[in-house]
Amino acid sequence: MHALFKGLKILEFGGGAAGPFGVRYFADHGATVVRVESRQRPDFIRLLRLTPDTPGAIDASHMFAMVNPNKYGIALNMSHPKGPEIARRLVQWADVVAENFAPKAMAKWGLDYDSLRALKADVIMISTCLNGQTGPDRNYPGFGGQGSAISGFNHLTGWPDREPLGPYGTITDSLSPRFVALLVGSALLHRQRTGQGQYIDLSQVEAGVTCLSENILTCAANDDALGRMGNRSRHAAPHGAFRCAPQDGDDDRWVAIAVHDDADWQRFRQSIGDPPWAADARYATTAGRLAQVDELEDHVAAWTRTRTAENVMHTLQAAGVDAGVVQNFEDLINDPQLAHRQHFRKVEHAAIGTHLCERGGTRFSATPEDIRMPAPCLGEHSEYVYRELLGMSAAEYSALQADGVFS
């Protein structure tokens, strides 16, 4: 079989992670993706680590390069009077238009769904902003950090006696891209069968709250608001991250252990050498372990503290107990399982040099995805896209360029 989305054409506006990571699913599977940016308003992730001294400036953003491989990049100044007209020609080229601006932007340029549909009847358009395209707070200008807060993830992460935390990263930025891929993929299936396009309004907050349905139902049905539980579980003990022996001077080494039921507990006891404290009859049942969880986890921590995190994981897993190293970013690079799945791929980038690019969490047996080209420098493929894909004449291209439309 050939690449899944070979021949599919996607036009992408916006920035950050929520939209671009989602469109990357299609780019990695062979779609032709044209990413629209401008010098006036580059993707903000190009600026996240930028200082006046950054070599390569906005083209050298690591994160941008790692989110956007396999995409063509063009410069198009949408504030120029001719910008929106060129964008409309690109729409006629595309099967799918994806954007994650605040709602007013596309309409301002005459690129709302009704306008797009008039240009191309079966176009699929997806808009994903934080709060959705309707409602009193639709124009609220949020990023993933605010999405995590509004949809409830922050409140549920951390220690009961401390401030809410992450999770690290901006979690709606790793959930929303998958929703984007799911919705556009299902819309393509629908178009294949019916010939019909569609408009999709994905609110990143609503998608996050949907994942946390258990949080909502617990409150709505039982008037009980869940809170931060550290690493504790309502159903299992021990269940946590335990400090391990230092390695190479690094004392920030931890292992996660989860004992899910009474059979697990017996396996756990045996694998740690059945010390006298573990024979305590109160620990034999889940209810008993949950009731004594503080002292129980102190015992576990004393055992892990003298062993390396890797040793604890392999020892417990050999006995069939659920345990995993709390891996830091360096550990991930050296992880043999991720290496087996070839998770990190080397890419050559004009402004960065050699860098790694990560793959998603899925392997397809018949249609593997691939990294064919690095992420674009800003405007890198303007000439190719305007001339070859849009069929613009050399004279028109030069005139528009001289006019500042492609900046």
Partner: protein, 421 residues
């Protein structure tokens, strides 16, 4: 609130006409729910004793009853439900019969786990012989092959091994996970994507395929490329509490308000600077903006070059201001003035959101079979052809045995007597 009818036919939507057999446990519940919300006919297949999640509390109104587990009810909507004992030869034969008419099968099990399809002789090779167009998707802790493929895993170990736990937490305490299973959510959506993509491959190229989803690997993306950047930056992901590191300083991101917490980050860039300026104007109207904040040239603000001493001075004023206001006051101002500030909401606050109310996001789902009506998050997306939303309540154990097996011409009473269903 809008109401979802109980027995709406499962045919409309982007995936109308597709049938999916769902054998997942908790790690995969969300996958089938999303596919069902998109219109697929998702048939949940449970062992005769029911899925383990049914026995987990909390329960609706505190009544311990396998039909009232909130976890089960929350993420198994838009599915029909049958029971089937695939540990019997007859049960396996019936499963293959179901596979002949189905479009996809999803499960959540490692390759050697006793409850996996492969362990019962029903792995992808066996299913493909029965139906070459079938798509099969397995969600497992670490993937189907490789040195850790036989290791056990759950949410906490997937988050740990995926590198999202180490950077989450306070520096003086253990790394920490979200108290609800975010690895399952990421992998659930990822699996739904995998099924839809593989169905596209089948529609365009004629064949099904196997889709291998790793819980561990799906948890790398939340680190926002930090792991891939390690060789360039040397940054291992050390914890920063409710804050973040800029180029030269530590910044707070989660701040105490009068009645809870709000999220606000002093990040720069063209998209964010107007929000900082608007916040200082708001503080000034309340008489709480020190002269040094007002005098600063914010147009050149860059969080990568500012020093810790400058950050501390700015943040002490921000902290005092946030503590003087409630979460609701601050968020109302954020919406009115385009401040990039948000409340760290509890479920109660989410249920009271004016934005979600205006979008009729929450729905009342009538469940006459259980005699309950519950409030749910409704459409996870809205489209010009209709909403991707709940089509029916989570199935009761074996609720659709009659419909599904009857359609295959099987005698439900006899199967039950034999211990097959």
């Amino acid at each position: 609130m809008s109401t979802v009818a109980n027995d709406k036919r499962l045919t409309a939507g982007n995936l109308g006409g597709y049938q999916i057999l769902d054998l997942t446990g908790e790690p995969g519940f969300l996958a089938g729910k999303l596919l069902g919300d998109l219109g697929a006919d998702v048939i949940k297949i449970e062992p005769l004793g029911g899925d383990a999640a049914r026995r987990r509390g909390p329960f609706v109104a505190g009544t311990a009853d396998p039909e009232r587990s909130i976890l089960w009810l929350a993420l198994n909507t838009s599915k029909r439900g049958i029971t089937l004992n695939v540990d019997t030869a007859r049960g396996r034969a019936i499963f293959l019969k179901l596979c002949r008419q189905a479009d996809a099968v999803i499960e959540s099990a490692g390759p050697l786990e006793p409850h996996s399809l492969a362990a019962r002789g029903l792995g992808y090779d066996a299913l493909r012989k029965t139906n070459p167009k079938l798509v099969m998707c397995s969600i497992s802790p670490f993937g189907q092959s490789g040195p850790y493929s036989t290791y056990r895993g759950s949410d906490i170990t997937a988050v740990a091994m995926g590198g999202n736990m180490y950077p989450t937490g306070n520096p003086d305490r253990a790394p920490v996970r979200c108290s609800l299973p975010v690895a399952y959510y990421h992998a659930g959506i990822e699996a739904a994507v995998g099924v839809v993509f593989a169905l596209w491959g089948r529609e365009t190229q004629g064949e099904g395929q196997f889709v291998d989803v790793s819980l561990q690997e799906t948890m790398l993306m939340p680190n926002m490329t930090g792991p891939a950047q390690f060789p360039l930056t040397g940054f291992k992901g050390g914890r920063a509490g409710g804050g973040f590191r800029g180029g030269r300083a530590f910044f707070h991101e989660l701040w105490p308000a009068a009645d809870g917490y709000v999220s606000f980050a002093l990040r720069g860039g063209a998209a964010r600077i107007p929000g900082i300026i608007a916040l200082i104007e708001y503080m000034d109207e309340c008489g709480m903006a020190p002269a040094s904040l007002k005098a600063r040239d914010w147009s050149q603000y860059n969080h990568n070059v500012i020093t810790q001493a400058e950050v501390d001075e700015i943040e002490s004023a921000l902290g005092a201001f946030f503590r003087s206001k409630t979460m609701a006051e601050l968020f109302a101002a954020a919406c009115d003035r385009n401040l990039m500030l948000a409340p760290a909401n509890t479920a109660r606050q989410i249920l009271a959101s004016r934005q979600l109310a205006a979008r009729e996001f929450f729905v009342q789902v009538d469940d006459p079979g259980r005699g309950i009506t519950l409030t749910y998050p409704g459409a996870f997306a809205k489209t010009s052809l209709g909403a991707a939303t709940i089509r029916c309540p989570a199935p009761r154990l074996g609720q659709h045995n009659g419909d599904v097996y009857g359609a295959l011409g099987l005698d439900v009473t006899a199967l039950a007597a034999e211990g097959i269903i």
